[in-house]
Symmetry: none
Subunit: 214 residues, 4 copies
């Protein structure tokens, strides 16, 4: 996503060999994220990652032992970032559970459905079976924490008498399903049938909240 550092016209000569040990991993991960998003894992070329990061191919291998490790770093960085955002929001919320749920789902849209993050999810879905460890990583840092948060909201809603003790109690992820589907749809069929995501979001919430209502 970041463009290769284009030389500042104020500075005469852009050093071809820059030494940026601290910044490099993040830069590479960012470039890798972009390339993986565009081509998926299998079709992404390490060479492209390097080029996008403005470095030589070999340099990538200075920081990550192989393509898979690079991908793992991307997953780790991106998912962790997205999830921690959500956690902050949920913490210490006061108000109706319905409102909390709305915020939570909104958050998922803002950080996953409407973001390139969904493209990472696509890789996990589509090619994750090739490296179960990364799949598990994604589950542990992304899915499980997310599910746990949902769990708590449902619990809260039920104990406050707002939600019924029904299906979402056993499978809180049901609540998020339409969002996941929207993300997939967006990546897959939006050319055939685009979604008005804002209306979809409202409909999503409407259906789910009505389904949960005590």
């Amino acid at each position: 996503m970041t463009q290769p550092p284009r030389p500042d016209p104020d500075h005469p000569a852009p050093p071809r060999r820059k030494r940026r040990k601290e910044a490099r991993p993040a830069e590479i991960v960012e470039a890798a994220f972009a390339v993986f998003c565009e081509h998926g894992y299998g079709k992404a070329r390490v060479d492209d990652v390097a080029r996008r990061a403005g470095i030589a191919k070999g340099t990538v291998y200075l920081y990550y032992p192989n393509k898979q490790a690079l991908f793992q770093a991307v997953v780790e960085a991106k998912v962790t970032a997205a999830i921690s955002q959500a956690a902050i929001m949920a913490d210490g919320f006061e108000g109706s559970s319905a409102e909390l749920l709305r915020r939570m789902v909104r958050n998922a849209y803002d950080n996953l459905v409407l973001t390139d993050a969904k493209l990472l999810m696509r890789i996990i879905i589509g090619e994750g079976h090739l490296f179960p460890e990364i799949q598990s990583l994604y589950y542990e840092v992304g899915i499980k924490p997310g599910m746990t948060m949902l769990d708590k909201v449902v619990e809260r809603g039920v104990s406050m008498g707002e939600f019924r003790d029904g299906p979402a109690r056993e499978f809180p992820r049901l609540i998020m399903a339409p969002g996941i589907m929207a993300a997939i749809w967006q990546m897959t069929f939006s050319a055939n049938e685009p979604i008005d995501m804002e209306r979809y979001f409202e409909s999503h919430l409407d259906l789910v909240l009505n389904g949960l209502k005590a």
Copy 2:
């Protein structure tokens, strides 16, 4: 999955060979389906398809000009089959719309979520961007007809006063979202956290029907 039909030396079996000639495309498609399901598109090898079909690699190219065309044939065959099943069921149903919806969702579970068909969907999701035409095909033969059917059921339910004129009216696919998610979960995270699919199915329906209730 089928072993290559090794000709019995005692039986000249000419009818078999003739029958085979016509059956070839279907056999190849079947083998390809299995291989694509196992490895995804990119990692599937044409050689494996041939071996699985009990023929030589070159023979595959006699029927399909390239790997992509083969994949397209698989999508066409499999999706068409699955969808027509559903259509039959829905046609001329008499009973409550809730019951019709249940059957429909059940059908989706039986033909997609609990079947290898979901593995095809995985490829469309994960690698479909590499060949938009096939993605569109999948949409046209699979998704759109499915959505249309859902549409009708919702329409029916609303006009009969069973369902409210709410979110599912605008986005009928919301109804199916939990099923799609289940399919993906099954392929991706079942090792980390398995789903009791029958209970999930009931919860899915429960949530949705309550969300739809007039």
Copy 3:
């Protein structure tokens, strides 16, 4: 060592794609032998092997899964050939043990010291530690049988009273040591100090037979 099959001038068009499933392995092994001899294992390029065999790089991998397997095939072919030669000669020999020994040593010179076979030995010595299995193979098919043959000759000589029951009884390989050294010298220092191999051979035998004399 074999030149890439140069098209017979009598035949009009040398087919670029030849089908020679039977001949290929041997051709490739021969080409590989030449290339390995010239560059050693590590510096030998599979591409060169292919070129020398008059085929494309990929074709090599049709017959041997990787470079190491190819090398193993070379070792197997070459060593087996050389050793079986020796065995034939030794079998059923009648005459003095000294004469038998001379023939044996002569054979070693003819098949190892004065041949490219010593270049294979060089690889086993110099790079064999990278693949102990092939080292062991060389030992099993080449060294051990050779040692066994020597063993028998010494045994024969001792029991016939020709040789004394001395050092060569315990270490028959002592007999061959000067030959091995000659092979190495030839490959390593002949530019600095060439050996007159025929005189060396005679001296070798002279020293050893005198050392063995009862």
Copy 4:
């Protein structure tokens, strides 16, 4: 083998640094020797040499222009050391030529066969053809002086009537052949068939001395 001398923060240790500066080449050579012994020339990585010497990779290139020069330095240092040892011993020896020969061969075992020095020899044999200059160096500093010494001993023995004027007169290196072979065997086939080196040494001497006997 040696850990990089980590400077004690309490002691400024300037003498150590100064001493180090002069010691650097030797330290690097020592580290290089170890690494070359372990991996051979081609598979040895300059990086490993540096790490082992406790310095940075670039520093190696401050003292040696490239990997080959470094190897040459190793050869020079190690071979010179080994050979000068032998020369001292031989000089001004009084006693039988047989005894002198025994000492000489013993010396070869102690300094070559039973030492890592043989690993250097292995590289010269196995990969020396890649850099003939180093091969020649090895010959000039190691082989030739050694041969000359042998030469003198044989000469002495013959003129004193101890040895016959036979094969070892023309090819004194015949005397050492079993030792060379032992070194190679040790590096190559000891896993398959170990040698009791002390008994081998005695057998070696026995055979050779008997072969020489006037």
